[in-house]
């Protein structure tokens, strides 16, 4: 196959993926759930056969449209139904409360104590007593709420600072 046709096919596939992913929303990978990420990988995997002309452009179009349409339907349903949302995305789970890990929740996520310590270190925490609650969110990141004492001082604490520093 000549080089010009490869270039044209690559360009057509690129533009088609650009259009369909724009149509399917603006969530970037960072905020996406594991499944959103996998869908992106699937779309990326469909393109090479099209570029090498192993499948026709029409077939590539049908495959991509099918995946993107499924994704749109599922996202739309998840937006309107709590039940669908939970089935598709799972739910955020409290994995730590008042400085103590919740063993059952951690086991459910297949995380052990070492994994929890690792996730907390990314928040700069090595003293677990500073944690009031920690949740493993749907997009698989840990969010941490610190105890009142361990929260950063803010402007509301200014009177007390002035008291201490006359």
């Amino acid at each position: 196959m000549d080089l010009g046709r490869i270039a044209v096919r690559a360009l057509v596939a690129y533009i088609y993926l650009l259009v369909t992913t724009r149509a399917s929303g603006k969530r970037v990978i960072q905020q996406a759930t594991p499944f959103d990420f996998l869908v992106a990988l699937i779309l990326g995997d469909l393109i090479d056969d099209c570029i090498w002309a192993e499948v026709s452009v029409a077939k590539f179009g049908a495959a991509v449209t099918s995946i993107v349409a499924c994704d749109l339907v599922v996202k739309f349903a998840a937006m309107h139904s709590q039940l669908v949302y939970r089935i598709v995305n799972g739910q955020s789970r409290v994995v730590m409360k008042d400085g103590v890990e919740e063993g059952n929740a951690l086991r459910h996520e297949q995380l052990n104590e070492g994994d929890l310590a690792h996730l907390l270190r990314h928040h700069g925490i090595d003293d677990w007593k500073q944690v009031r609650t920690a949740l493993l969110e749907e997009h698989a990141e840990l969010s941490v709420v610190r105890t009142h004492e361990a929260q950063a001082a803010t402007k509301e604490d200014l009177p007390r600072v002035k008291e201490l520093v006359p």
């Binding site: 995997d45 056969d49 049908a62 099918s66 995946i67």
Partner: protein, 165 residues
Amino acid sequence: MDLQELGMTALRGLLVYAFMLVVIRVLGKRTVGNFTAFDLLVALMLGEVVDEIIYGDVDIAQGFVAIGVVALAKYVTQWLTYWDHGFNRLFEGKPTEIVRHGELVREGLRSEMMNEKEALAALRIQGVTDLKEVKQALLEVDGEVSVIREDWAEPLQKGDLKKES
């Protein structure tokens, strides 16, 4: 172009989508990228087998067996890692200390093939401007650097302002 073949392609796309959704939900939040480099690789493997299935180069039963086996292997690995008995170290590795009490740990950097410049860049991303602020910095199994600061370098907390009684 054969319209029926296009329809079949779309249908296979739908089946793959549904099957992948089930696989990801069963494997759980650990699966994709966030915990170790290998998690990311498994996601890439799963993403890479689907084109032949959707385009009909292999039949759908064969495709689902391949995906199922990779997913099952990952699932078993995750449990072995959870229960540990040395598997944690085998499958995930251990974090490597790169700074201890304000000083770079040379052996740690060498074993990770990380040079001083890269280490300092990773620390700057975490907001560290002076090495002395760092009590311990680890290169974690997910490839990111975590920083625990010396007590004096921690931001002021509400507890520090409590009235002494």
